[in-house]
């Protein structure tokens, strides 16, 4: 990462190691956008290598890509920033397939990247609006556990919602 700004403080670099051994070198300011890493840095202080056994390299890389973009955008105290971030977020989630989306959401959740969790959760929500019950079961791999007749009973209560 090239930080060409004329800041006098040297940026500390952290080494993040994913479950599959892939490592990423990231500026502290970028990585600490993730609550979990922020906590580790504050608690463990001098440790530069952080192992993340619950996230694999592919998804950690994507999470960090998102962090970098947001960290960079936020250094400019421009008013249009919000819009830049929004636009970039849209691009980021646009073409994600369901599997990637789920893994990414779990990774972001594990790393306490609250804003990213929000973004991804909203994306999944937008994909399941206005669906049929069967489609939802399919999407989330859920088997109905209702006894015969029970489901019908529930449907009847709000039959208008199925129209």
């Amino acid at each position: 990462m090239s930080s060409s700004s004329t800041t006098t403080t040297t940026t500390r670099l952290l080494m993040l190691k994913a479950s599959d051994g892939v490592t990423f070198e990231v500026e502290e300011a970028v990585a600490t956008k993730l609550g979990a890493i922020n906590n580790m840095v504050e608690e463990e202080g001098s440790e530069d290598l952080i192992c993340l056994p619950n996230v694999n390299g592919k998804f950690l890389g994507m999470v960090l890509e998102w962090c970098k973009k947001h960290a960079n955008n936020n250094t400019n105290s421009d008013k249009g920033n919000d819009e830049v971030n929004k636009w970039w977020d849209k691009e980021f989630v646009m073409d994600l397939d369901q599997n990637t989306l789920y893994h990414l959401l779990m990774a972001a959740d594990y790393l306490s990247g609250t804003e990213l969790v929000d973004l991804l959760t909203e994306k999944v929500a937008s994909m399941i609006r206005g669906k049929k019950v069967e489609e939802i079961r399919e999407t989330f791999k859920i088997k109905s556990d209702f006894l015969p007749g029970q489901e019908e009973e529930i449907r009847k209560k709000n039959s208008w919602a199925f129209e």
Partner: protein, 423 residues
Amino acid sequence: MATLPWDSIVGILTRLPVKDLLRYRCVSKPWCSLIDGPDFIKMHLNHSVGTSSNLSLIRGYRVLHSVDLDTLDSAVRLTPPINVGNEIKILGCCNGLVALANSSGVMALWNPSTRKHKKVPVSDPNYEVPFGVFDSEMVGFGYDPLNDDYKLLRVIHYIRIDSDSFQSEVKVYSLKSNTWKRVGDFPYQGYKKYGIGVFASNSLHWMVARDHQYQPSFSIAAFDLVTEEYRKISLPDKKVSWDDKFYTKLAELGGWLCVVSIYVDDEKAEASNYVDIWVMKQYGVKESWTKLFSVAPSYVTGSFEYAMPLAYLKSAHQVVLDQDGHKFLLYDLERKRAKSVRKITGLSKCFDTFVYVRSLVGLGGGDGDNNGKKAGENGNKRKKQNQRVSGQKRLILEGFCWATEDVDVVFAGKGIRLRARNL
């Protein structure tokens, strides 16, 4: 294929519209009990309020319509749960529940998003007031977070003809107990007051005015739904010149108590009306009144009689305003200008527009109407009174809804009726 942890699923579901959630109760038992659970209902509500999403407008007198605030494109006709009669009146909206009353005095709490309702038992006015003549009525609807209860307030003001003094009867209906109880009398007697209370910061608010030698003095009367006590709240200090003509209305905007001053200049053309919108950023602190913005006629708005703020869309930094009861004005808070004006086909002019959040909030066990007694027929003598408040500065006292009308109040034995009548 990955399966998501339960917490993630809960997060996703809090972002869905009510209609989807009612359908997805059928997905599985855990989904059904999640969606029906009070914690989820609160999470869903808080998410909608926090992101200003799932908001709708509701309005009408004989026919009720709702409009999705996100799209502001079409009106949907609603089927109210009580007989409309001559007219149906919205008494307030809170957390997705709408309080309604019809012209026979039947009241109900209703969630238009789940289509569930509960009739409010009839509470007869107290006839103990001797020589009392009905003066005016105030109502209000809101939420008491301490007791997790929804409350409907009704104040009936009487004038005692024997002593020319005022008396009031204040009753609070609690959804939880499904009963009315009498609370302390309205303490600001001798004030002109009526209308629908504005709910903000756990309290209901009304404008009250007292005539002092043709110089009306205004303030805000508040009733705290938690403590069930009254208090007065000061209006913002604003410079008023002698020939300023304006009237003041209350509203709620983004959780703040809001004062709207509508300046009228009838000497010039109508085109010079404009509005100032003030919000009390720290509830109860007079110094925290802040002028949020003003709307003056522009090429976007054209001239208008009034504009009342309806909703603050936080992420878009926009405020939606009701312009003259038949158009919707979008105001951009960042650029400080009116952005656009929308007119929605099928909506007729209406002075009472409310905003409700589409929520799953329930009405307790029975969704039916088994708790509602039948409203009484027209009982005793009717006493009609037309009320109008005016003063040197031609300030017009407003509760919430009567902008340019006289208010015609009918006392009909078992129910109080309010009717707005065009002049």
